[in-house]
Amino acid sequence: MENNETERRELRVAFIGNPNCGKTTLFNAYTGANLKVANWPGVTVEKKEGSYKFQGQEFKLIDLPGIYSLTSYTMEERVSRMCILSDEVDVIVDVADASALERNLYLTLQLIELGKPVVMALNMMDIVEERGMEIDLHRMQEMLGIPVIPVSARKKTGLEQLMHAVLHHRDASARHRIEHHHKVGENAQLHAEYALVYSDGIEEEIARLENVFEDRYPDMTNRRWHAIKYLENDSDVMGEFPVESFDPESFESRMINEKYDFIEEVIAEVLVNRDEKSAMTDRIDRVLTHRIWGVPVFLGIMALVFALTFTVGDWLKGYFEAALEVFSDGVSGLLSAVGAGELITSLLVDGIIAGVGGILTFLPNIVILFIALAVLEDSGYMSRVAYVMDGLMGKIGLSGRAFIPMLLGFGCTVPAVMASRALEDKRDRLRTMFVTPFMSCSARLPVYVLLSQMFFGKWAGIAAFSMYVIGLFMAILVALIVSKCSKKYEEHTLLIELPEYKTPNPHTIFIYVWDKVKDYLTKAGTTIFLASIVLWFLLNFNQHGLVSDMGESFAAGIAKFLVPVMKPTGLGYWQIIVALISGIAAKEVVVSSMSVLYGVANISSAEGMAALSGALGSVGFTAVNAYAMMIFVLLYIPCVATLATIKRESGSVKFMLGTMAMQLLTAWIMSALVFNIASLIF
């Protein structure tokens, strides 16, 4: 270990803490937007890494998922524990919320037991001071035996002190002296060495197991921790280090109680002017979680979010379109000036610029939607939604918590499907994943905006908004059917922390939104770029070479097969079918394909739309067909990225194919229904 440390120049620091303790804000304060996001090997728990430099020392910072304890009940806990125990981490930074110190100390005690160097970053000290409380940091360090550094992630104070402490406590042996005021005599040796000493009965068991381990597993580091985990009947540790002579009695409940007894001792000694007010949050909750007003208030907030997305977003979109038009004309002009061939011009202007550029003009709508979602999450409102919606979700056989992934689905289905893993029951998880794709994601937005602006005039906003309502309604309906069809009624139960409300942090929101925008731009540059080229090729060529009429191309040939199938839905046009099929790559591609198909360079501008609606109108594609198409796009097969995520999260190809088939069928039935009923009326 020592040798490795001198060879390795960078110091590896893991950030760990309870959910809502401000850990990510603190992590972002060090790394900025400059971070690497990946998944932990084999699981879909997010892994964030960033780098930081201080006093000539390189730091590699790892942000672990927010957890309450280090047991192995959930995937997040297991991942965090494995990471901390591995050689991958030199120092643990335990981020604790000073305003909820009592509960946060539970994880701290578990981290200290691991035996690695731990430094506590005591966050939100400003809130504590505002409430007139004081924390005796000096006494806390003495009782816990680890350095405690007050920080404010939001105001960016204490950041250097924290890294300074990390640098100087990277060696586990350089620990603080522990001083307790315990009754003299009992276990004096243990009290000098460990912050938390259990009752005699448990300490005897720990000592006995430590002896067993010493004989059987001489290489085991930190025997005390392994012994403690054994007494908690931790399945991971018991599986890895089997011991025959162990009587599997669990002391877990007793040990949890003893940890809290010790925490109460600490709190009694370090917390001055303990205050229970936090009146602000209670006042806000009186309205937002009101038994009658809670649901209407939530619906109002969502209506506001979408109103902003459509009004402000569309206004900004105008500028993007103007810029695209200038660019597109410039490129055409340039190409003809240098005498480029017609084929190259067509590929660049009709294929790539029309496809990719058309998608980029929708960026303002998407940015606003993601800002709104980030604000809901960072302010602390998101978890209230779980409580508010618990009644309705209970009726469809899910816990209120399942509503959070569904709500995130308005942003992007991929992280939404991943968020379903916060649900503890596997069947709950599968059901949530099954219906989440119905929640209309931001990639479908361009399709609605385009079609509704072309066909619904001043009702465009309402037509587009109705998609979100229909999507939510279908998700609820399908969940209800699944719940009625499953064999027995299971009890689903909600368990979620409701953090204190706070003003959303602009930096946190910026990083969240920038991350999504980057994804969107990357997708425009890769998936959509490639899809546009492939589509351009398939539309301009057939087995005999270049075609003059797209109706004779490869793509048309394939799509024409499906025309009879799609006829009842009002979408029996080969061009529309090509657009829909290519939309499986990414939903925005439906729009970019339409521009390629109809050769409209700037599809979302007024002239572009006039050209497109003219072309569509001439073949009898009217507002009714457009609405049926919006519904079909809302409900049909999700994009490839979503399918891959569903497969990975459920661990079953069959489940993924089932989801796909169900959605395709639902889309067909619903759009056929709407098309035929609407055709009778209008």
Partner: protein
Amino acid sequence: MTLQSMEIGQTADVQSISLAHDTSRRLEMLGLTGGTEIKLLNKKKNGAVIVKVRGTRFAFGREIARGIEVETENGK
């Protein structure tokens, strides 16, 4: 009595938890150990509750609220 039958604004002590093993341990880890003070902040018709324990608010569904036995100050 159970958490569910408490009234909004009332304070009580946690007596015992009779729920599935994992759920019980999880609640204990969150600080709902024997004798802990618990305050009911809100409840809904469907039985979900909001409580405050050790300075933190939690929302519990009906099944959890039913499984937590509490004792109020006047000894009920």
